[in-house]
């Protein structure tokens, strides 16, 4: 894919992405700042909205306007939404397209064939990725100064929030279909940063997987963090109403749910950590 592209800048930026992902110290941004940027991915949408200069970002994905998944749904309504179709994106005449490594594969390769520069961001898997991606987005958009300021702010606030209490309560991330999330994920790091031990480790789930309700009940976590509920009904979510889960959920009545702040690696993860820290303090007080 990369080798076939006749555009040098594409290669340069892709190399920049590659280096940044590998954590290389210095990366040189290629060329001048892009003027018409279209983002196709929920997470690049939010990073771009945080860093782009007024008028620089032309369109974000429709998901960015959904408050269930996007921490910046209100801000996203100011932009025309796209559904990641190559045709509609091409007609927006972008000089740079931002995509996730798993978003709209067909559209991305089509846009590349049409000679449009596409930068792909892998999903954020850790709190460190937030910093890395802010820096990368700053370079790609030519907004390095703004990115560095945001990273400094993020680091300060994260350091202030990061807790290592003597007693770490045991928490479970439990969402629809009994899916639990382990430590080697963004959600897992959010949980750990707030001073919780993740029950997934005891159940032998390193990243993510189904945890039978029986096993969860036997492990007896101090806190169960469920996912925010979608409209409409589903059997997958009905599991969270199971009577066997009720005593665990009742332990911390206003426990936070995994919401839009948890989905993407943006500075909004700090808000998720804040909510968890408050829940941990409520647990300590109730003890």
């Amino acid at each position: 894919m990369v080798g076939q592209s006749p555009f040098r800048r594409v290669r340069a930026v892709l190399r920049a992405v590659f280096c940044a992902v590998l954590g290389a110290a210095t990366v040189t941004a290629a060329g001048a700042a892009p003027e018409r940027v279209v983002s196709l991915n929920l997470c690049t949408d939010q990073l771009a909205m945080l860093l782009a200069a007024p008028g620089q970002l032309v369109s974000v994905s429709f998901l960015a306007q959904d408050p269930m998944n996007s921490a910046m749904a209100d801000a996203a309504r100011a932009f025309p939404a796209n559904r990641g179709q190559a045709e509609e994106v091409f007609l927006m005449k972008p000089d740079l397209v931002l995509a996730g490594t798993y978003t709209s594969r067909a559209a991305v390769s089509m846009l590349r064939r049409l000679g449009i520069e596409v930068v792909e961001f892998p999903p954020e898997r850790s709190l460190d990725d937030v910093r890395r991606h802010l820096r990368l987005m700053g370079q790609v958009l030519g907004q390095q100064a703004r990115a560095e300021a945001m990273i400094a702010d993020y680091d300060t606030r994260l350091a202030a929030l990061r807790a290592d209490p003597a007693h770490r309560p045991r928490a479970a991330l439990y969402s629809a279909n009994g899916y639990t999330t382990g430590g080697n994920t963004l959600s897992g790091e959010i949980l750990a940063a707030a001073g919780f031990d993740n029950i997934a480790a005891e159940a032998g789930v390193p990243a993510g997987g189904a945890l039978p309700l029986e096993v969860l009940v036997m492990l007896r976590p101090d806190l169960v963090i469920t996912g925010a509920r979608y409209p409409g009904a589903s059997r997958s979510e009905a599991l969270l109403d199971h009577p066997a889960l009720a005593p665990l959920l009742a332990a911390v009545p206003d426990a936070p749910a995994t919401n839009a702040d948890w989905v993407c690696g943006t500075p909004y993860v700090l808000r998720a950590i804040e909510g968890l820290v408050a829940a941990r303090k409520a647990l300590e007080d109730g003890r």
Partner: protein, 329 residues
């Protein structure tokens, strides 16, 4: 084999499988802990597992299996056709459509009984349509053709409703409504289904004498004092109540109503009246066995019940078709 011995044997089998269903699960509780939690309430977490997770699941297995076995036996007796089965001829998928509509329109959230009632309505409509299309004698060809059409139609509408749902998980649940599962069901579901199923059992149990008489032909049955119109109505309501309530809480599990009556028919001297209780017990045993198997084969992956019942049922179905063709029916 004597009839009494057969019923006692099947009853014992259901009891053994019920106990096994209670004792098998991902939480790896010991025998003593399980029984202590279930009967004496020892161990807070273990009590939750035994009383709130495993007991309702095992009870639903018995209830659903008995309902499906009974419905299959009754329909086969009435239509005098061994291919009549709620899953095959579209009754289950129509009930699933009713249930999905109740859930997705929010009706079930505001009024809990709407779920089984809507599924029951779907089942009633489909049985009525089938009897209309296939006629009272239910020749194999018309019955199966009408069943396929109904199944496909109800299945397509179910998929459509789930695809249009605002809930991102709903579309993935098409497979649950088609294949059925008892995973993570609770007493809420037991209490929702039980009244309707019990009604269905009572209605179908009264049909024994009428179905026996029907084996002599409709005229002879009428001469024996069987009121055919009434028998037909009771059958429709009984099957709809059983299948509707079952599908509403556990999805459409196929083939139980086909396999069980077929296996047991020679053992009861081919008398439809005697086949009814035997099939109910046999269906409960088959469903419990299938539900244990899904937990043993793929623990934690919610393998669907219909997968296992179809693995056993489909070859038998082919055998039945082969036999039917050979006999030139």
């Amino acid at each position: 084999m004597r009839y009494g011995t057969l019923i006692a044997g099947l009853g014992a089998l259901v009891l053994v499988l019920f106990a096994a269903s209670l004792l098998i699960g991902p939480a790896a509780l010991g025998l003593g802990d399980s029984l202590g939690a279930l009967f004496a309430g020892r161990g807070e977490a273990a009590v939750l597992v035994m009383r709130e997770i495993r007991l309702p699941r095992a009870l639903l297995g018995v209830m659903l299996g008995a309902s499906l076995g009974l419905s299959g036996a009754a329909m086969q007796g009435y239509l005098r056709n061994p291919l009549a089965e709620p899953g095959l001829i579209g009754v289950s998928s129509s009930a699933a459509l009713g249930a999905v509509l109740a859930l997705q329109t929010g009706l079930a959230a505001s009024f809990a009984l709407a779920l089984p009632l809507m599924a029951l309505a779907g089942a009633v409509l489909s049985v009525l349509l089938l009897l209309l299309l296939a006629g009272p004698r239910g020749s194999s060809l018309t019955l199966i053709l009408a069943g396929i059409a109904l199944s496909a139609f109800a299945g397509a509408l179910t998929s459509l409703v789930l695809n249009l749902s605002p809930n991102p998980y709903a579309a993935a649940e098409i497979i649950f409504w088609m294949l059925g599962s008892l995973g993570d069901r609770s007493f809420t579901h037991v209490w929702l289904a039980l009244p309707f199923m019990a009604l269905g059992w009572v209605l179908l149990a009264t049909l024994g004498r009428g179905l026996d008489a029907l084996t002599l032909g409709e005229d002879a049955a009428a001469a024996l004092g069987i009121r055919l119109a009434r028998l037909r109505l009771v059958l429709i309501l009984g099957v709809a109540a059983c299948v509707g309530a079952g599908v509403a809480v556990a999805g459409a599990v196929g083939f139980v109503g086909l396999v069980v009556p077929h296996l047991l028919r020679p053992l009861v001297g081919a008398r439809p009246g005697r086949l009814l209780p035997a099939s109910a017990l046999g269906g409960a045993a088959m469903l419990l066995a299938a539900d244990i198997a899904v937990r043993v084969i793929a623990p934690g992956r919610d393998l669907k019940l219909g997968v296992l019942t179809a693995l056993v049922g489909a070859p038998l179905f082919l055998h039945l078709i082969y036999k039917t063709r050979r006999e030139g029916l």
